[in-house]
Symmetry: C4
Amino acid sequence: MTESPGRVEAFSDGVFAIAITLLILEIKLPHVEHGLWAGLLALWPSYIAFLMSFFVILIMWVNHHELLRMVQRVNYPFLFANGFLLLTVTVVPFPTAVLAANLATPDAKAAVAFYCATFVAQALVWNLLFATMVRGGLLRADVTAETISNVRRTYYVGVLVYMLATALAFVRPALGLVLNASLWVVWIRLGYRSESSVSSLRSES
Amino acid sequence: MTESPGRVEAFSDGVFAIAITLLILEIKLPHVEHGLWAGLLALWPSYIAFLMSFFVILIMWVNHHELLRMVQRVNYPFLFANGFLLLTVTVVPFPTAVLAANLATPDAKAAVAFYCATFVAQALVWNLLFATMVRGGLLRADVTAETISNVRRTYYVGVLVYMLATALAFVRPALGLVLNASLWVVWIRLGYRSESSVSSLRSES
Amino acid sequence: MTESPGRVEAFSDGVFAIAITLLILEIKLPHVEHGLWAGLLALWPSYIAFLMSFFVILIMWVNHHELLRMVQRVNYPFLFANGFLLLTVTVVPFPTAVLAANLATPDAKAAVAFYCATFVAQALVWNLLFATMVRGGLLRADVTAETISNVRRTYYVGVLVYMLATALAFVRPALGLVLNASLWVVWIRLGYRSESSVSSLRSES
Amino acid sequence: MTESPGRVEAFSDGVFAIAITLLILEIKLPHVEHGLWAGLLALWPSYIAFLMSFFVILIMWVNHHELLRMVQRVNYPFLFANGFLLLTVTVVPFPTAVLAANLATPDAKAAVAFYCATFVAQALVWNLLFATMVRGGLLRADVTAETISNVRRTYYVGVLVYMLATALAFVRPALGLVLNASLWVVWIRLGYRSESSVSSLRSES
């Protein structure tokens, strides 16, 4: 299959764009019995859940973008590995809603743990997707072994940190969320690095 | 009409991407009176319904992709046959929600039968779409009679198996769902085959 | 402004695709106190409303497609006239939900009249959009005066028939809906004709 | 990073298209105890909120379009500044729903102030995005210093006027809304001007 990744990219972008925009539907109307401002303030768990999921999906979109730039063609296993990744993206509004509804209740620990656990699953699928790319020989010739091992290492770390965040959530839910969010920095730095390695190779060629 | 299938493809991709992402809205917030974990577990019918519909739409998207690659141009009947197909795609969240709401109730048989029946309708429309392509002379010159009869046969089988799954649902709903899901393998294999025949022809030309 | 209509087309396609896919969210879960099948049957007003709106949006998408093929460039007034058209497209799920909720009630007359009236507004905006195209000199050189007057006449007829359907709804709501749906044939035939005139001109050049 | 803005544009367009189409979901079914027409009339706050947000998003889409036409390449800070802008776009359905639910209640002042305040945040992010473009050297060579200072000035004015509208809302909510809407004219005129300066430069080159 000598197909270019164009249509997969367009479809994936569509799913990312829709998932990130649907998040707002999870914020319900504020109760107004104590005034609208009090009602709006009481929605703070919804705002936290919304912002966390918005930035995760945004960063994942950027990374997906970077990853597809390393690809010169796609095959069937890639289509389905990518489909699994999109599954973990479309799912995000659900744990987000669960987090928003329970963050200010005695169920906060379970809610944060569930929220973090969905990202463990997602981090595993990023590993699967990258393995499919490497094994299928889909990478461009100018992607170095160093870039590959760099990406792979970061994806392993991602799984571990999300597992740690999940475990931490059972004890200190707030810290679990903070650890979860701290991974944004890792993903952003990954993007920078893989980008610069591709760019430098490109400018050489 | 000498139009290329580009814009139909983009519009269809949009509908597939939105339908697959809207599915998550059907999973409602868990009840927490027995704790959040118990509430999350009790949502198992929603997870099954979500996963089944997610993978069906994903596979249909891949197959739609393959089908449009056989096309060299589109005409008006094709636009409307494709519109009927999109109708059966946008509809999916509704039987999915019905399935999720009733799978763990005495109405499970009816719910699974209704769910499977919507795919009978969809399989009929795939046949209609392909017939429109063949009759309208829209196929590329390098699509062999063998590929055509292969696709046609698989689409006939699809209708029959979905009808069987619908009938089975009235007796053993769980088996009906399993038979329904077993068609994924058929659709994936169809994709592989039509792809390889197109590819081999392409490399010859 | 020498811009090509590409990005307007992509944005409009996105809005059409989303609006047509959101329609299904208006079909609520069936009540099951008399069994699921009875509950599914009782949703017939929702199915009628869904199907009517689905086909209208589908046909409007095809026509929008045809209309933009007549355009060689876009200007600012066109962007906003097109924005008004998209307004009348994104609005459709609301009268659809109103129709579905009231078609089997004593409010059926008002519901059908309201539903038809939104299409009067939409038909007026199609006229506005086309006038913006003609006055702004946005049409391609090969679009004949005959095609222009043909499109214009059909759009006028559209306004009149939708007004008639609205009036009829106050007396016989079912007939109002049928008249409303009968316009699909007019729009489809308009598409055929404007297409063939463009095609024939293209093959000459 | 020598990437063209194509994929950012496509992703942003997707988010704009979805956000603008989701707005209609905020209009709930009318109550019919006093008849459907009375119920439809009683929804006037929803119609005002819907129309205001629809036109704001439409105009922002047009402006985003214009802004990206000034860009010759994108970098990482731009991706995230643009992400912040998309955050303020996806958020719009929430203040819209709050406005619709409270405009006809004693909480109208708070609702309008909250609605206007979200656009203060958005106007700040437009400033951030433009600063990122200028500082990163992302602008095309033919964008003049005059155009830059023109855009910058308009964005400053936007922040100030939205702040004024927010303050005004605490006293006269209706006037706050009118002032908010009056900014449409400013944004539209900005679009016209930056467009004509780009066009004139283009025709010279």
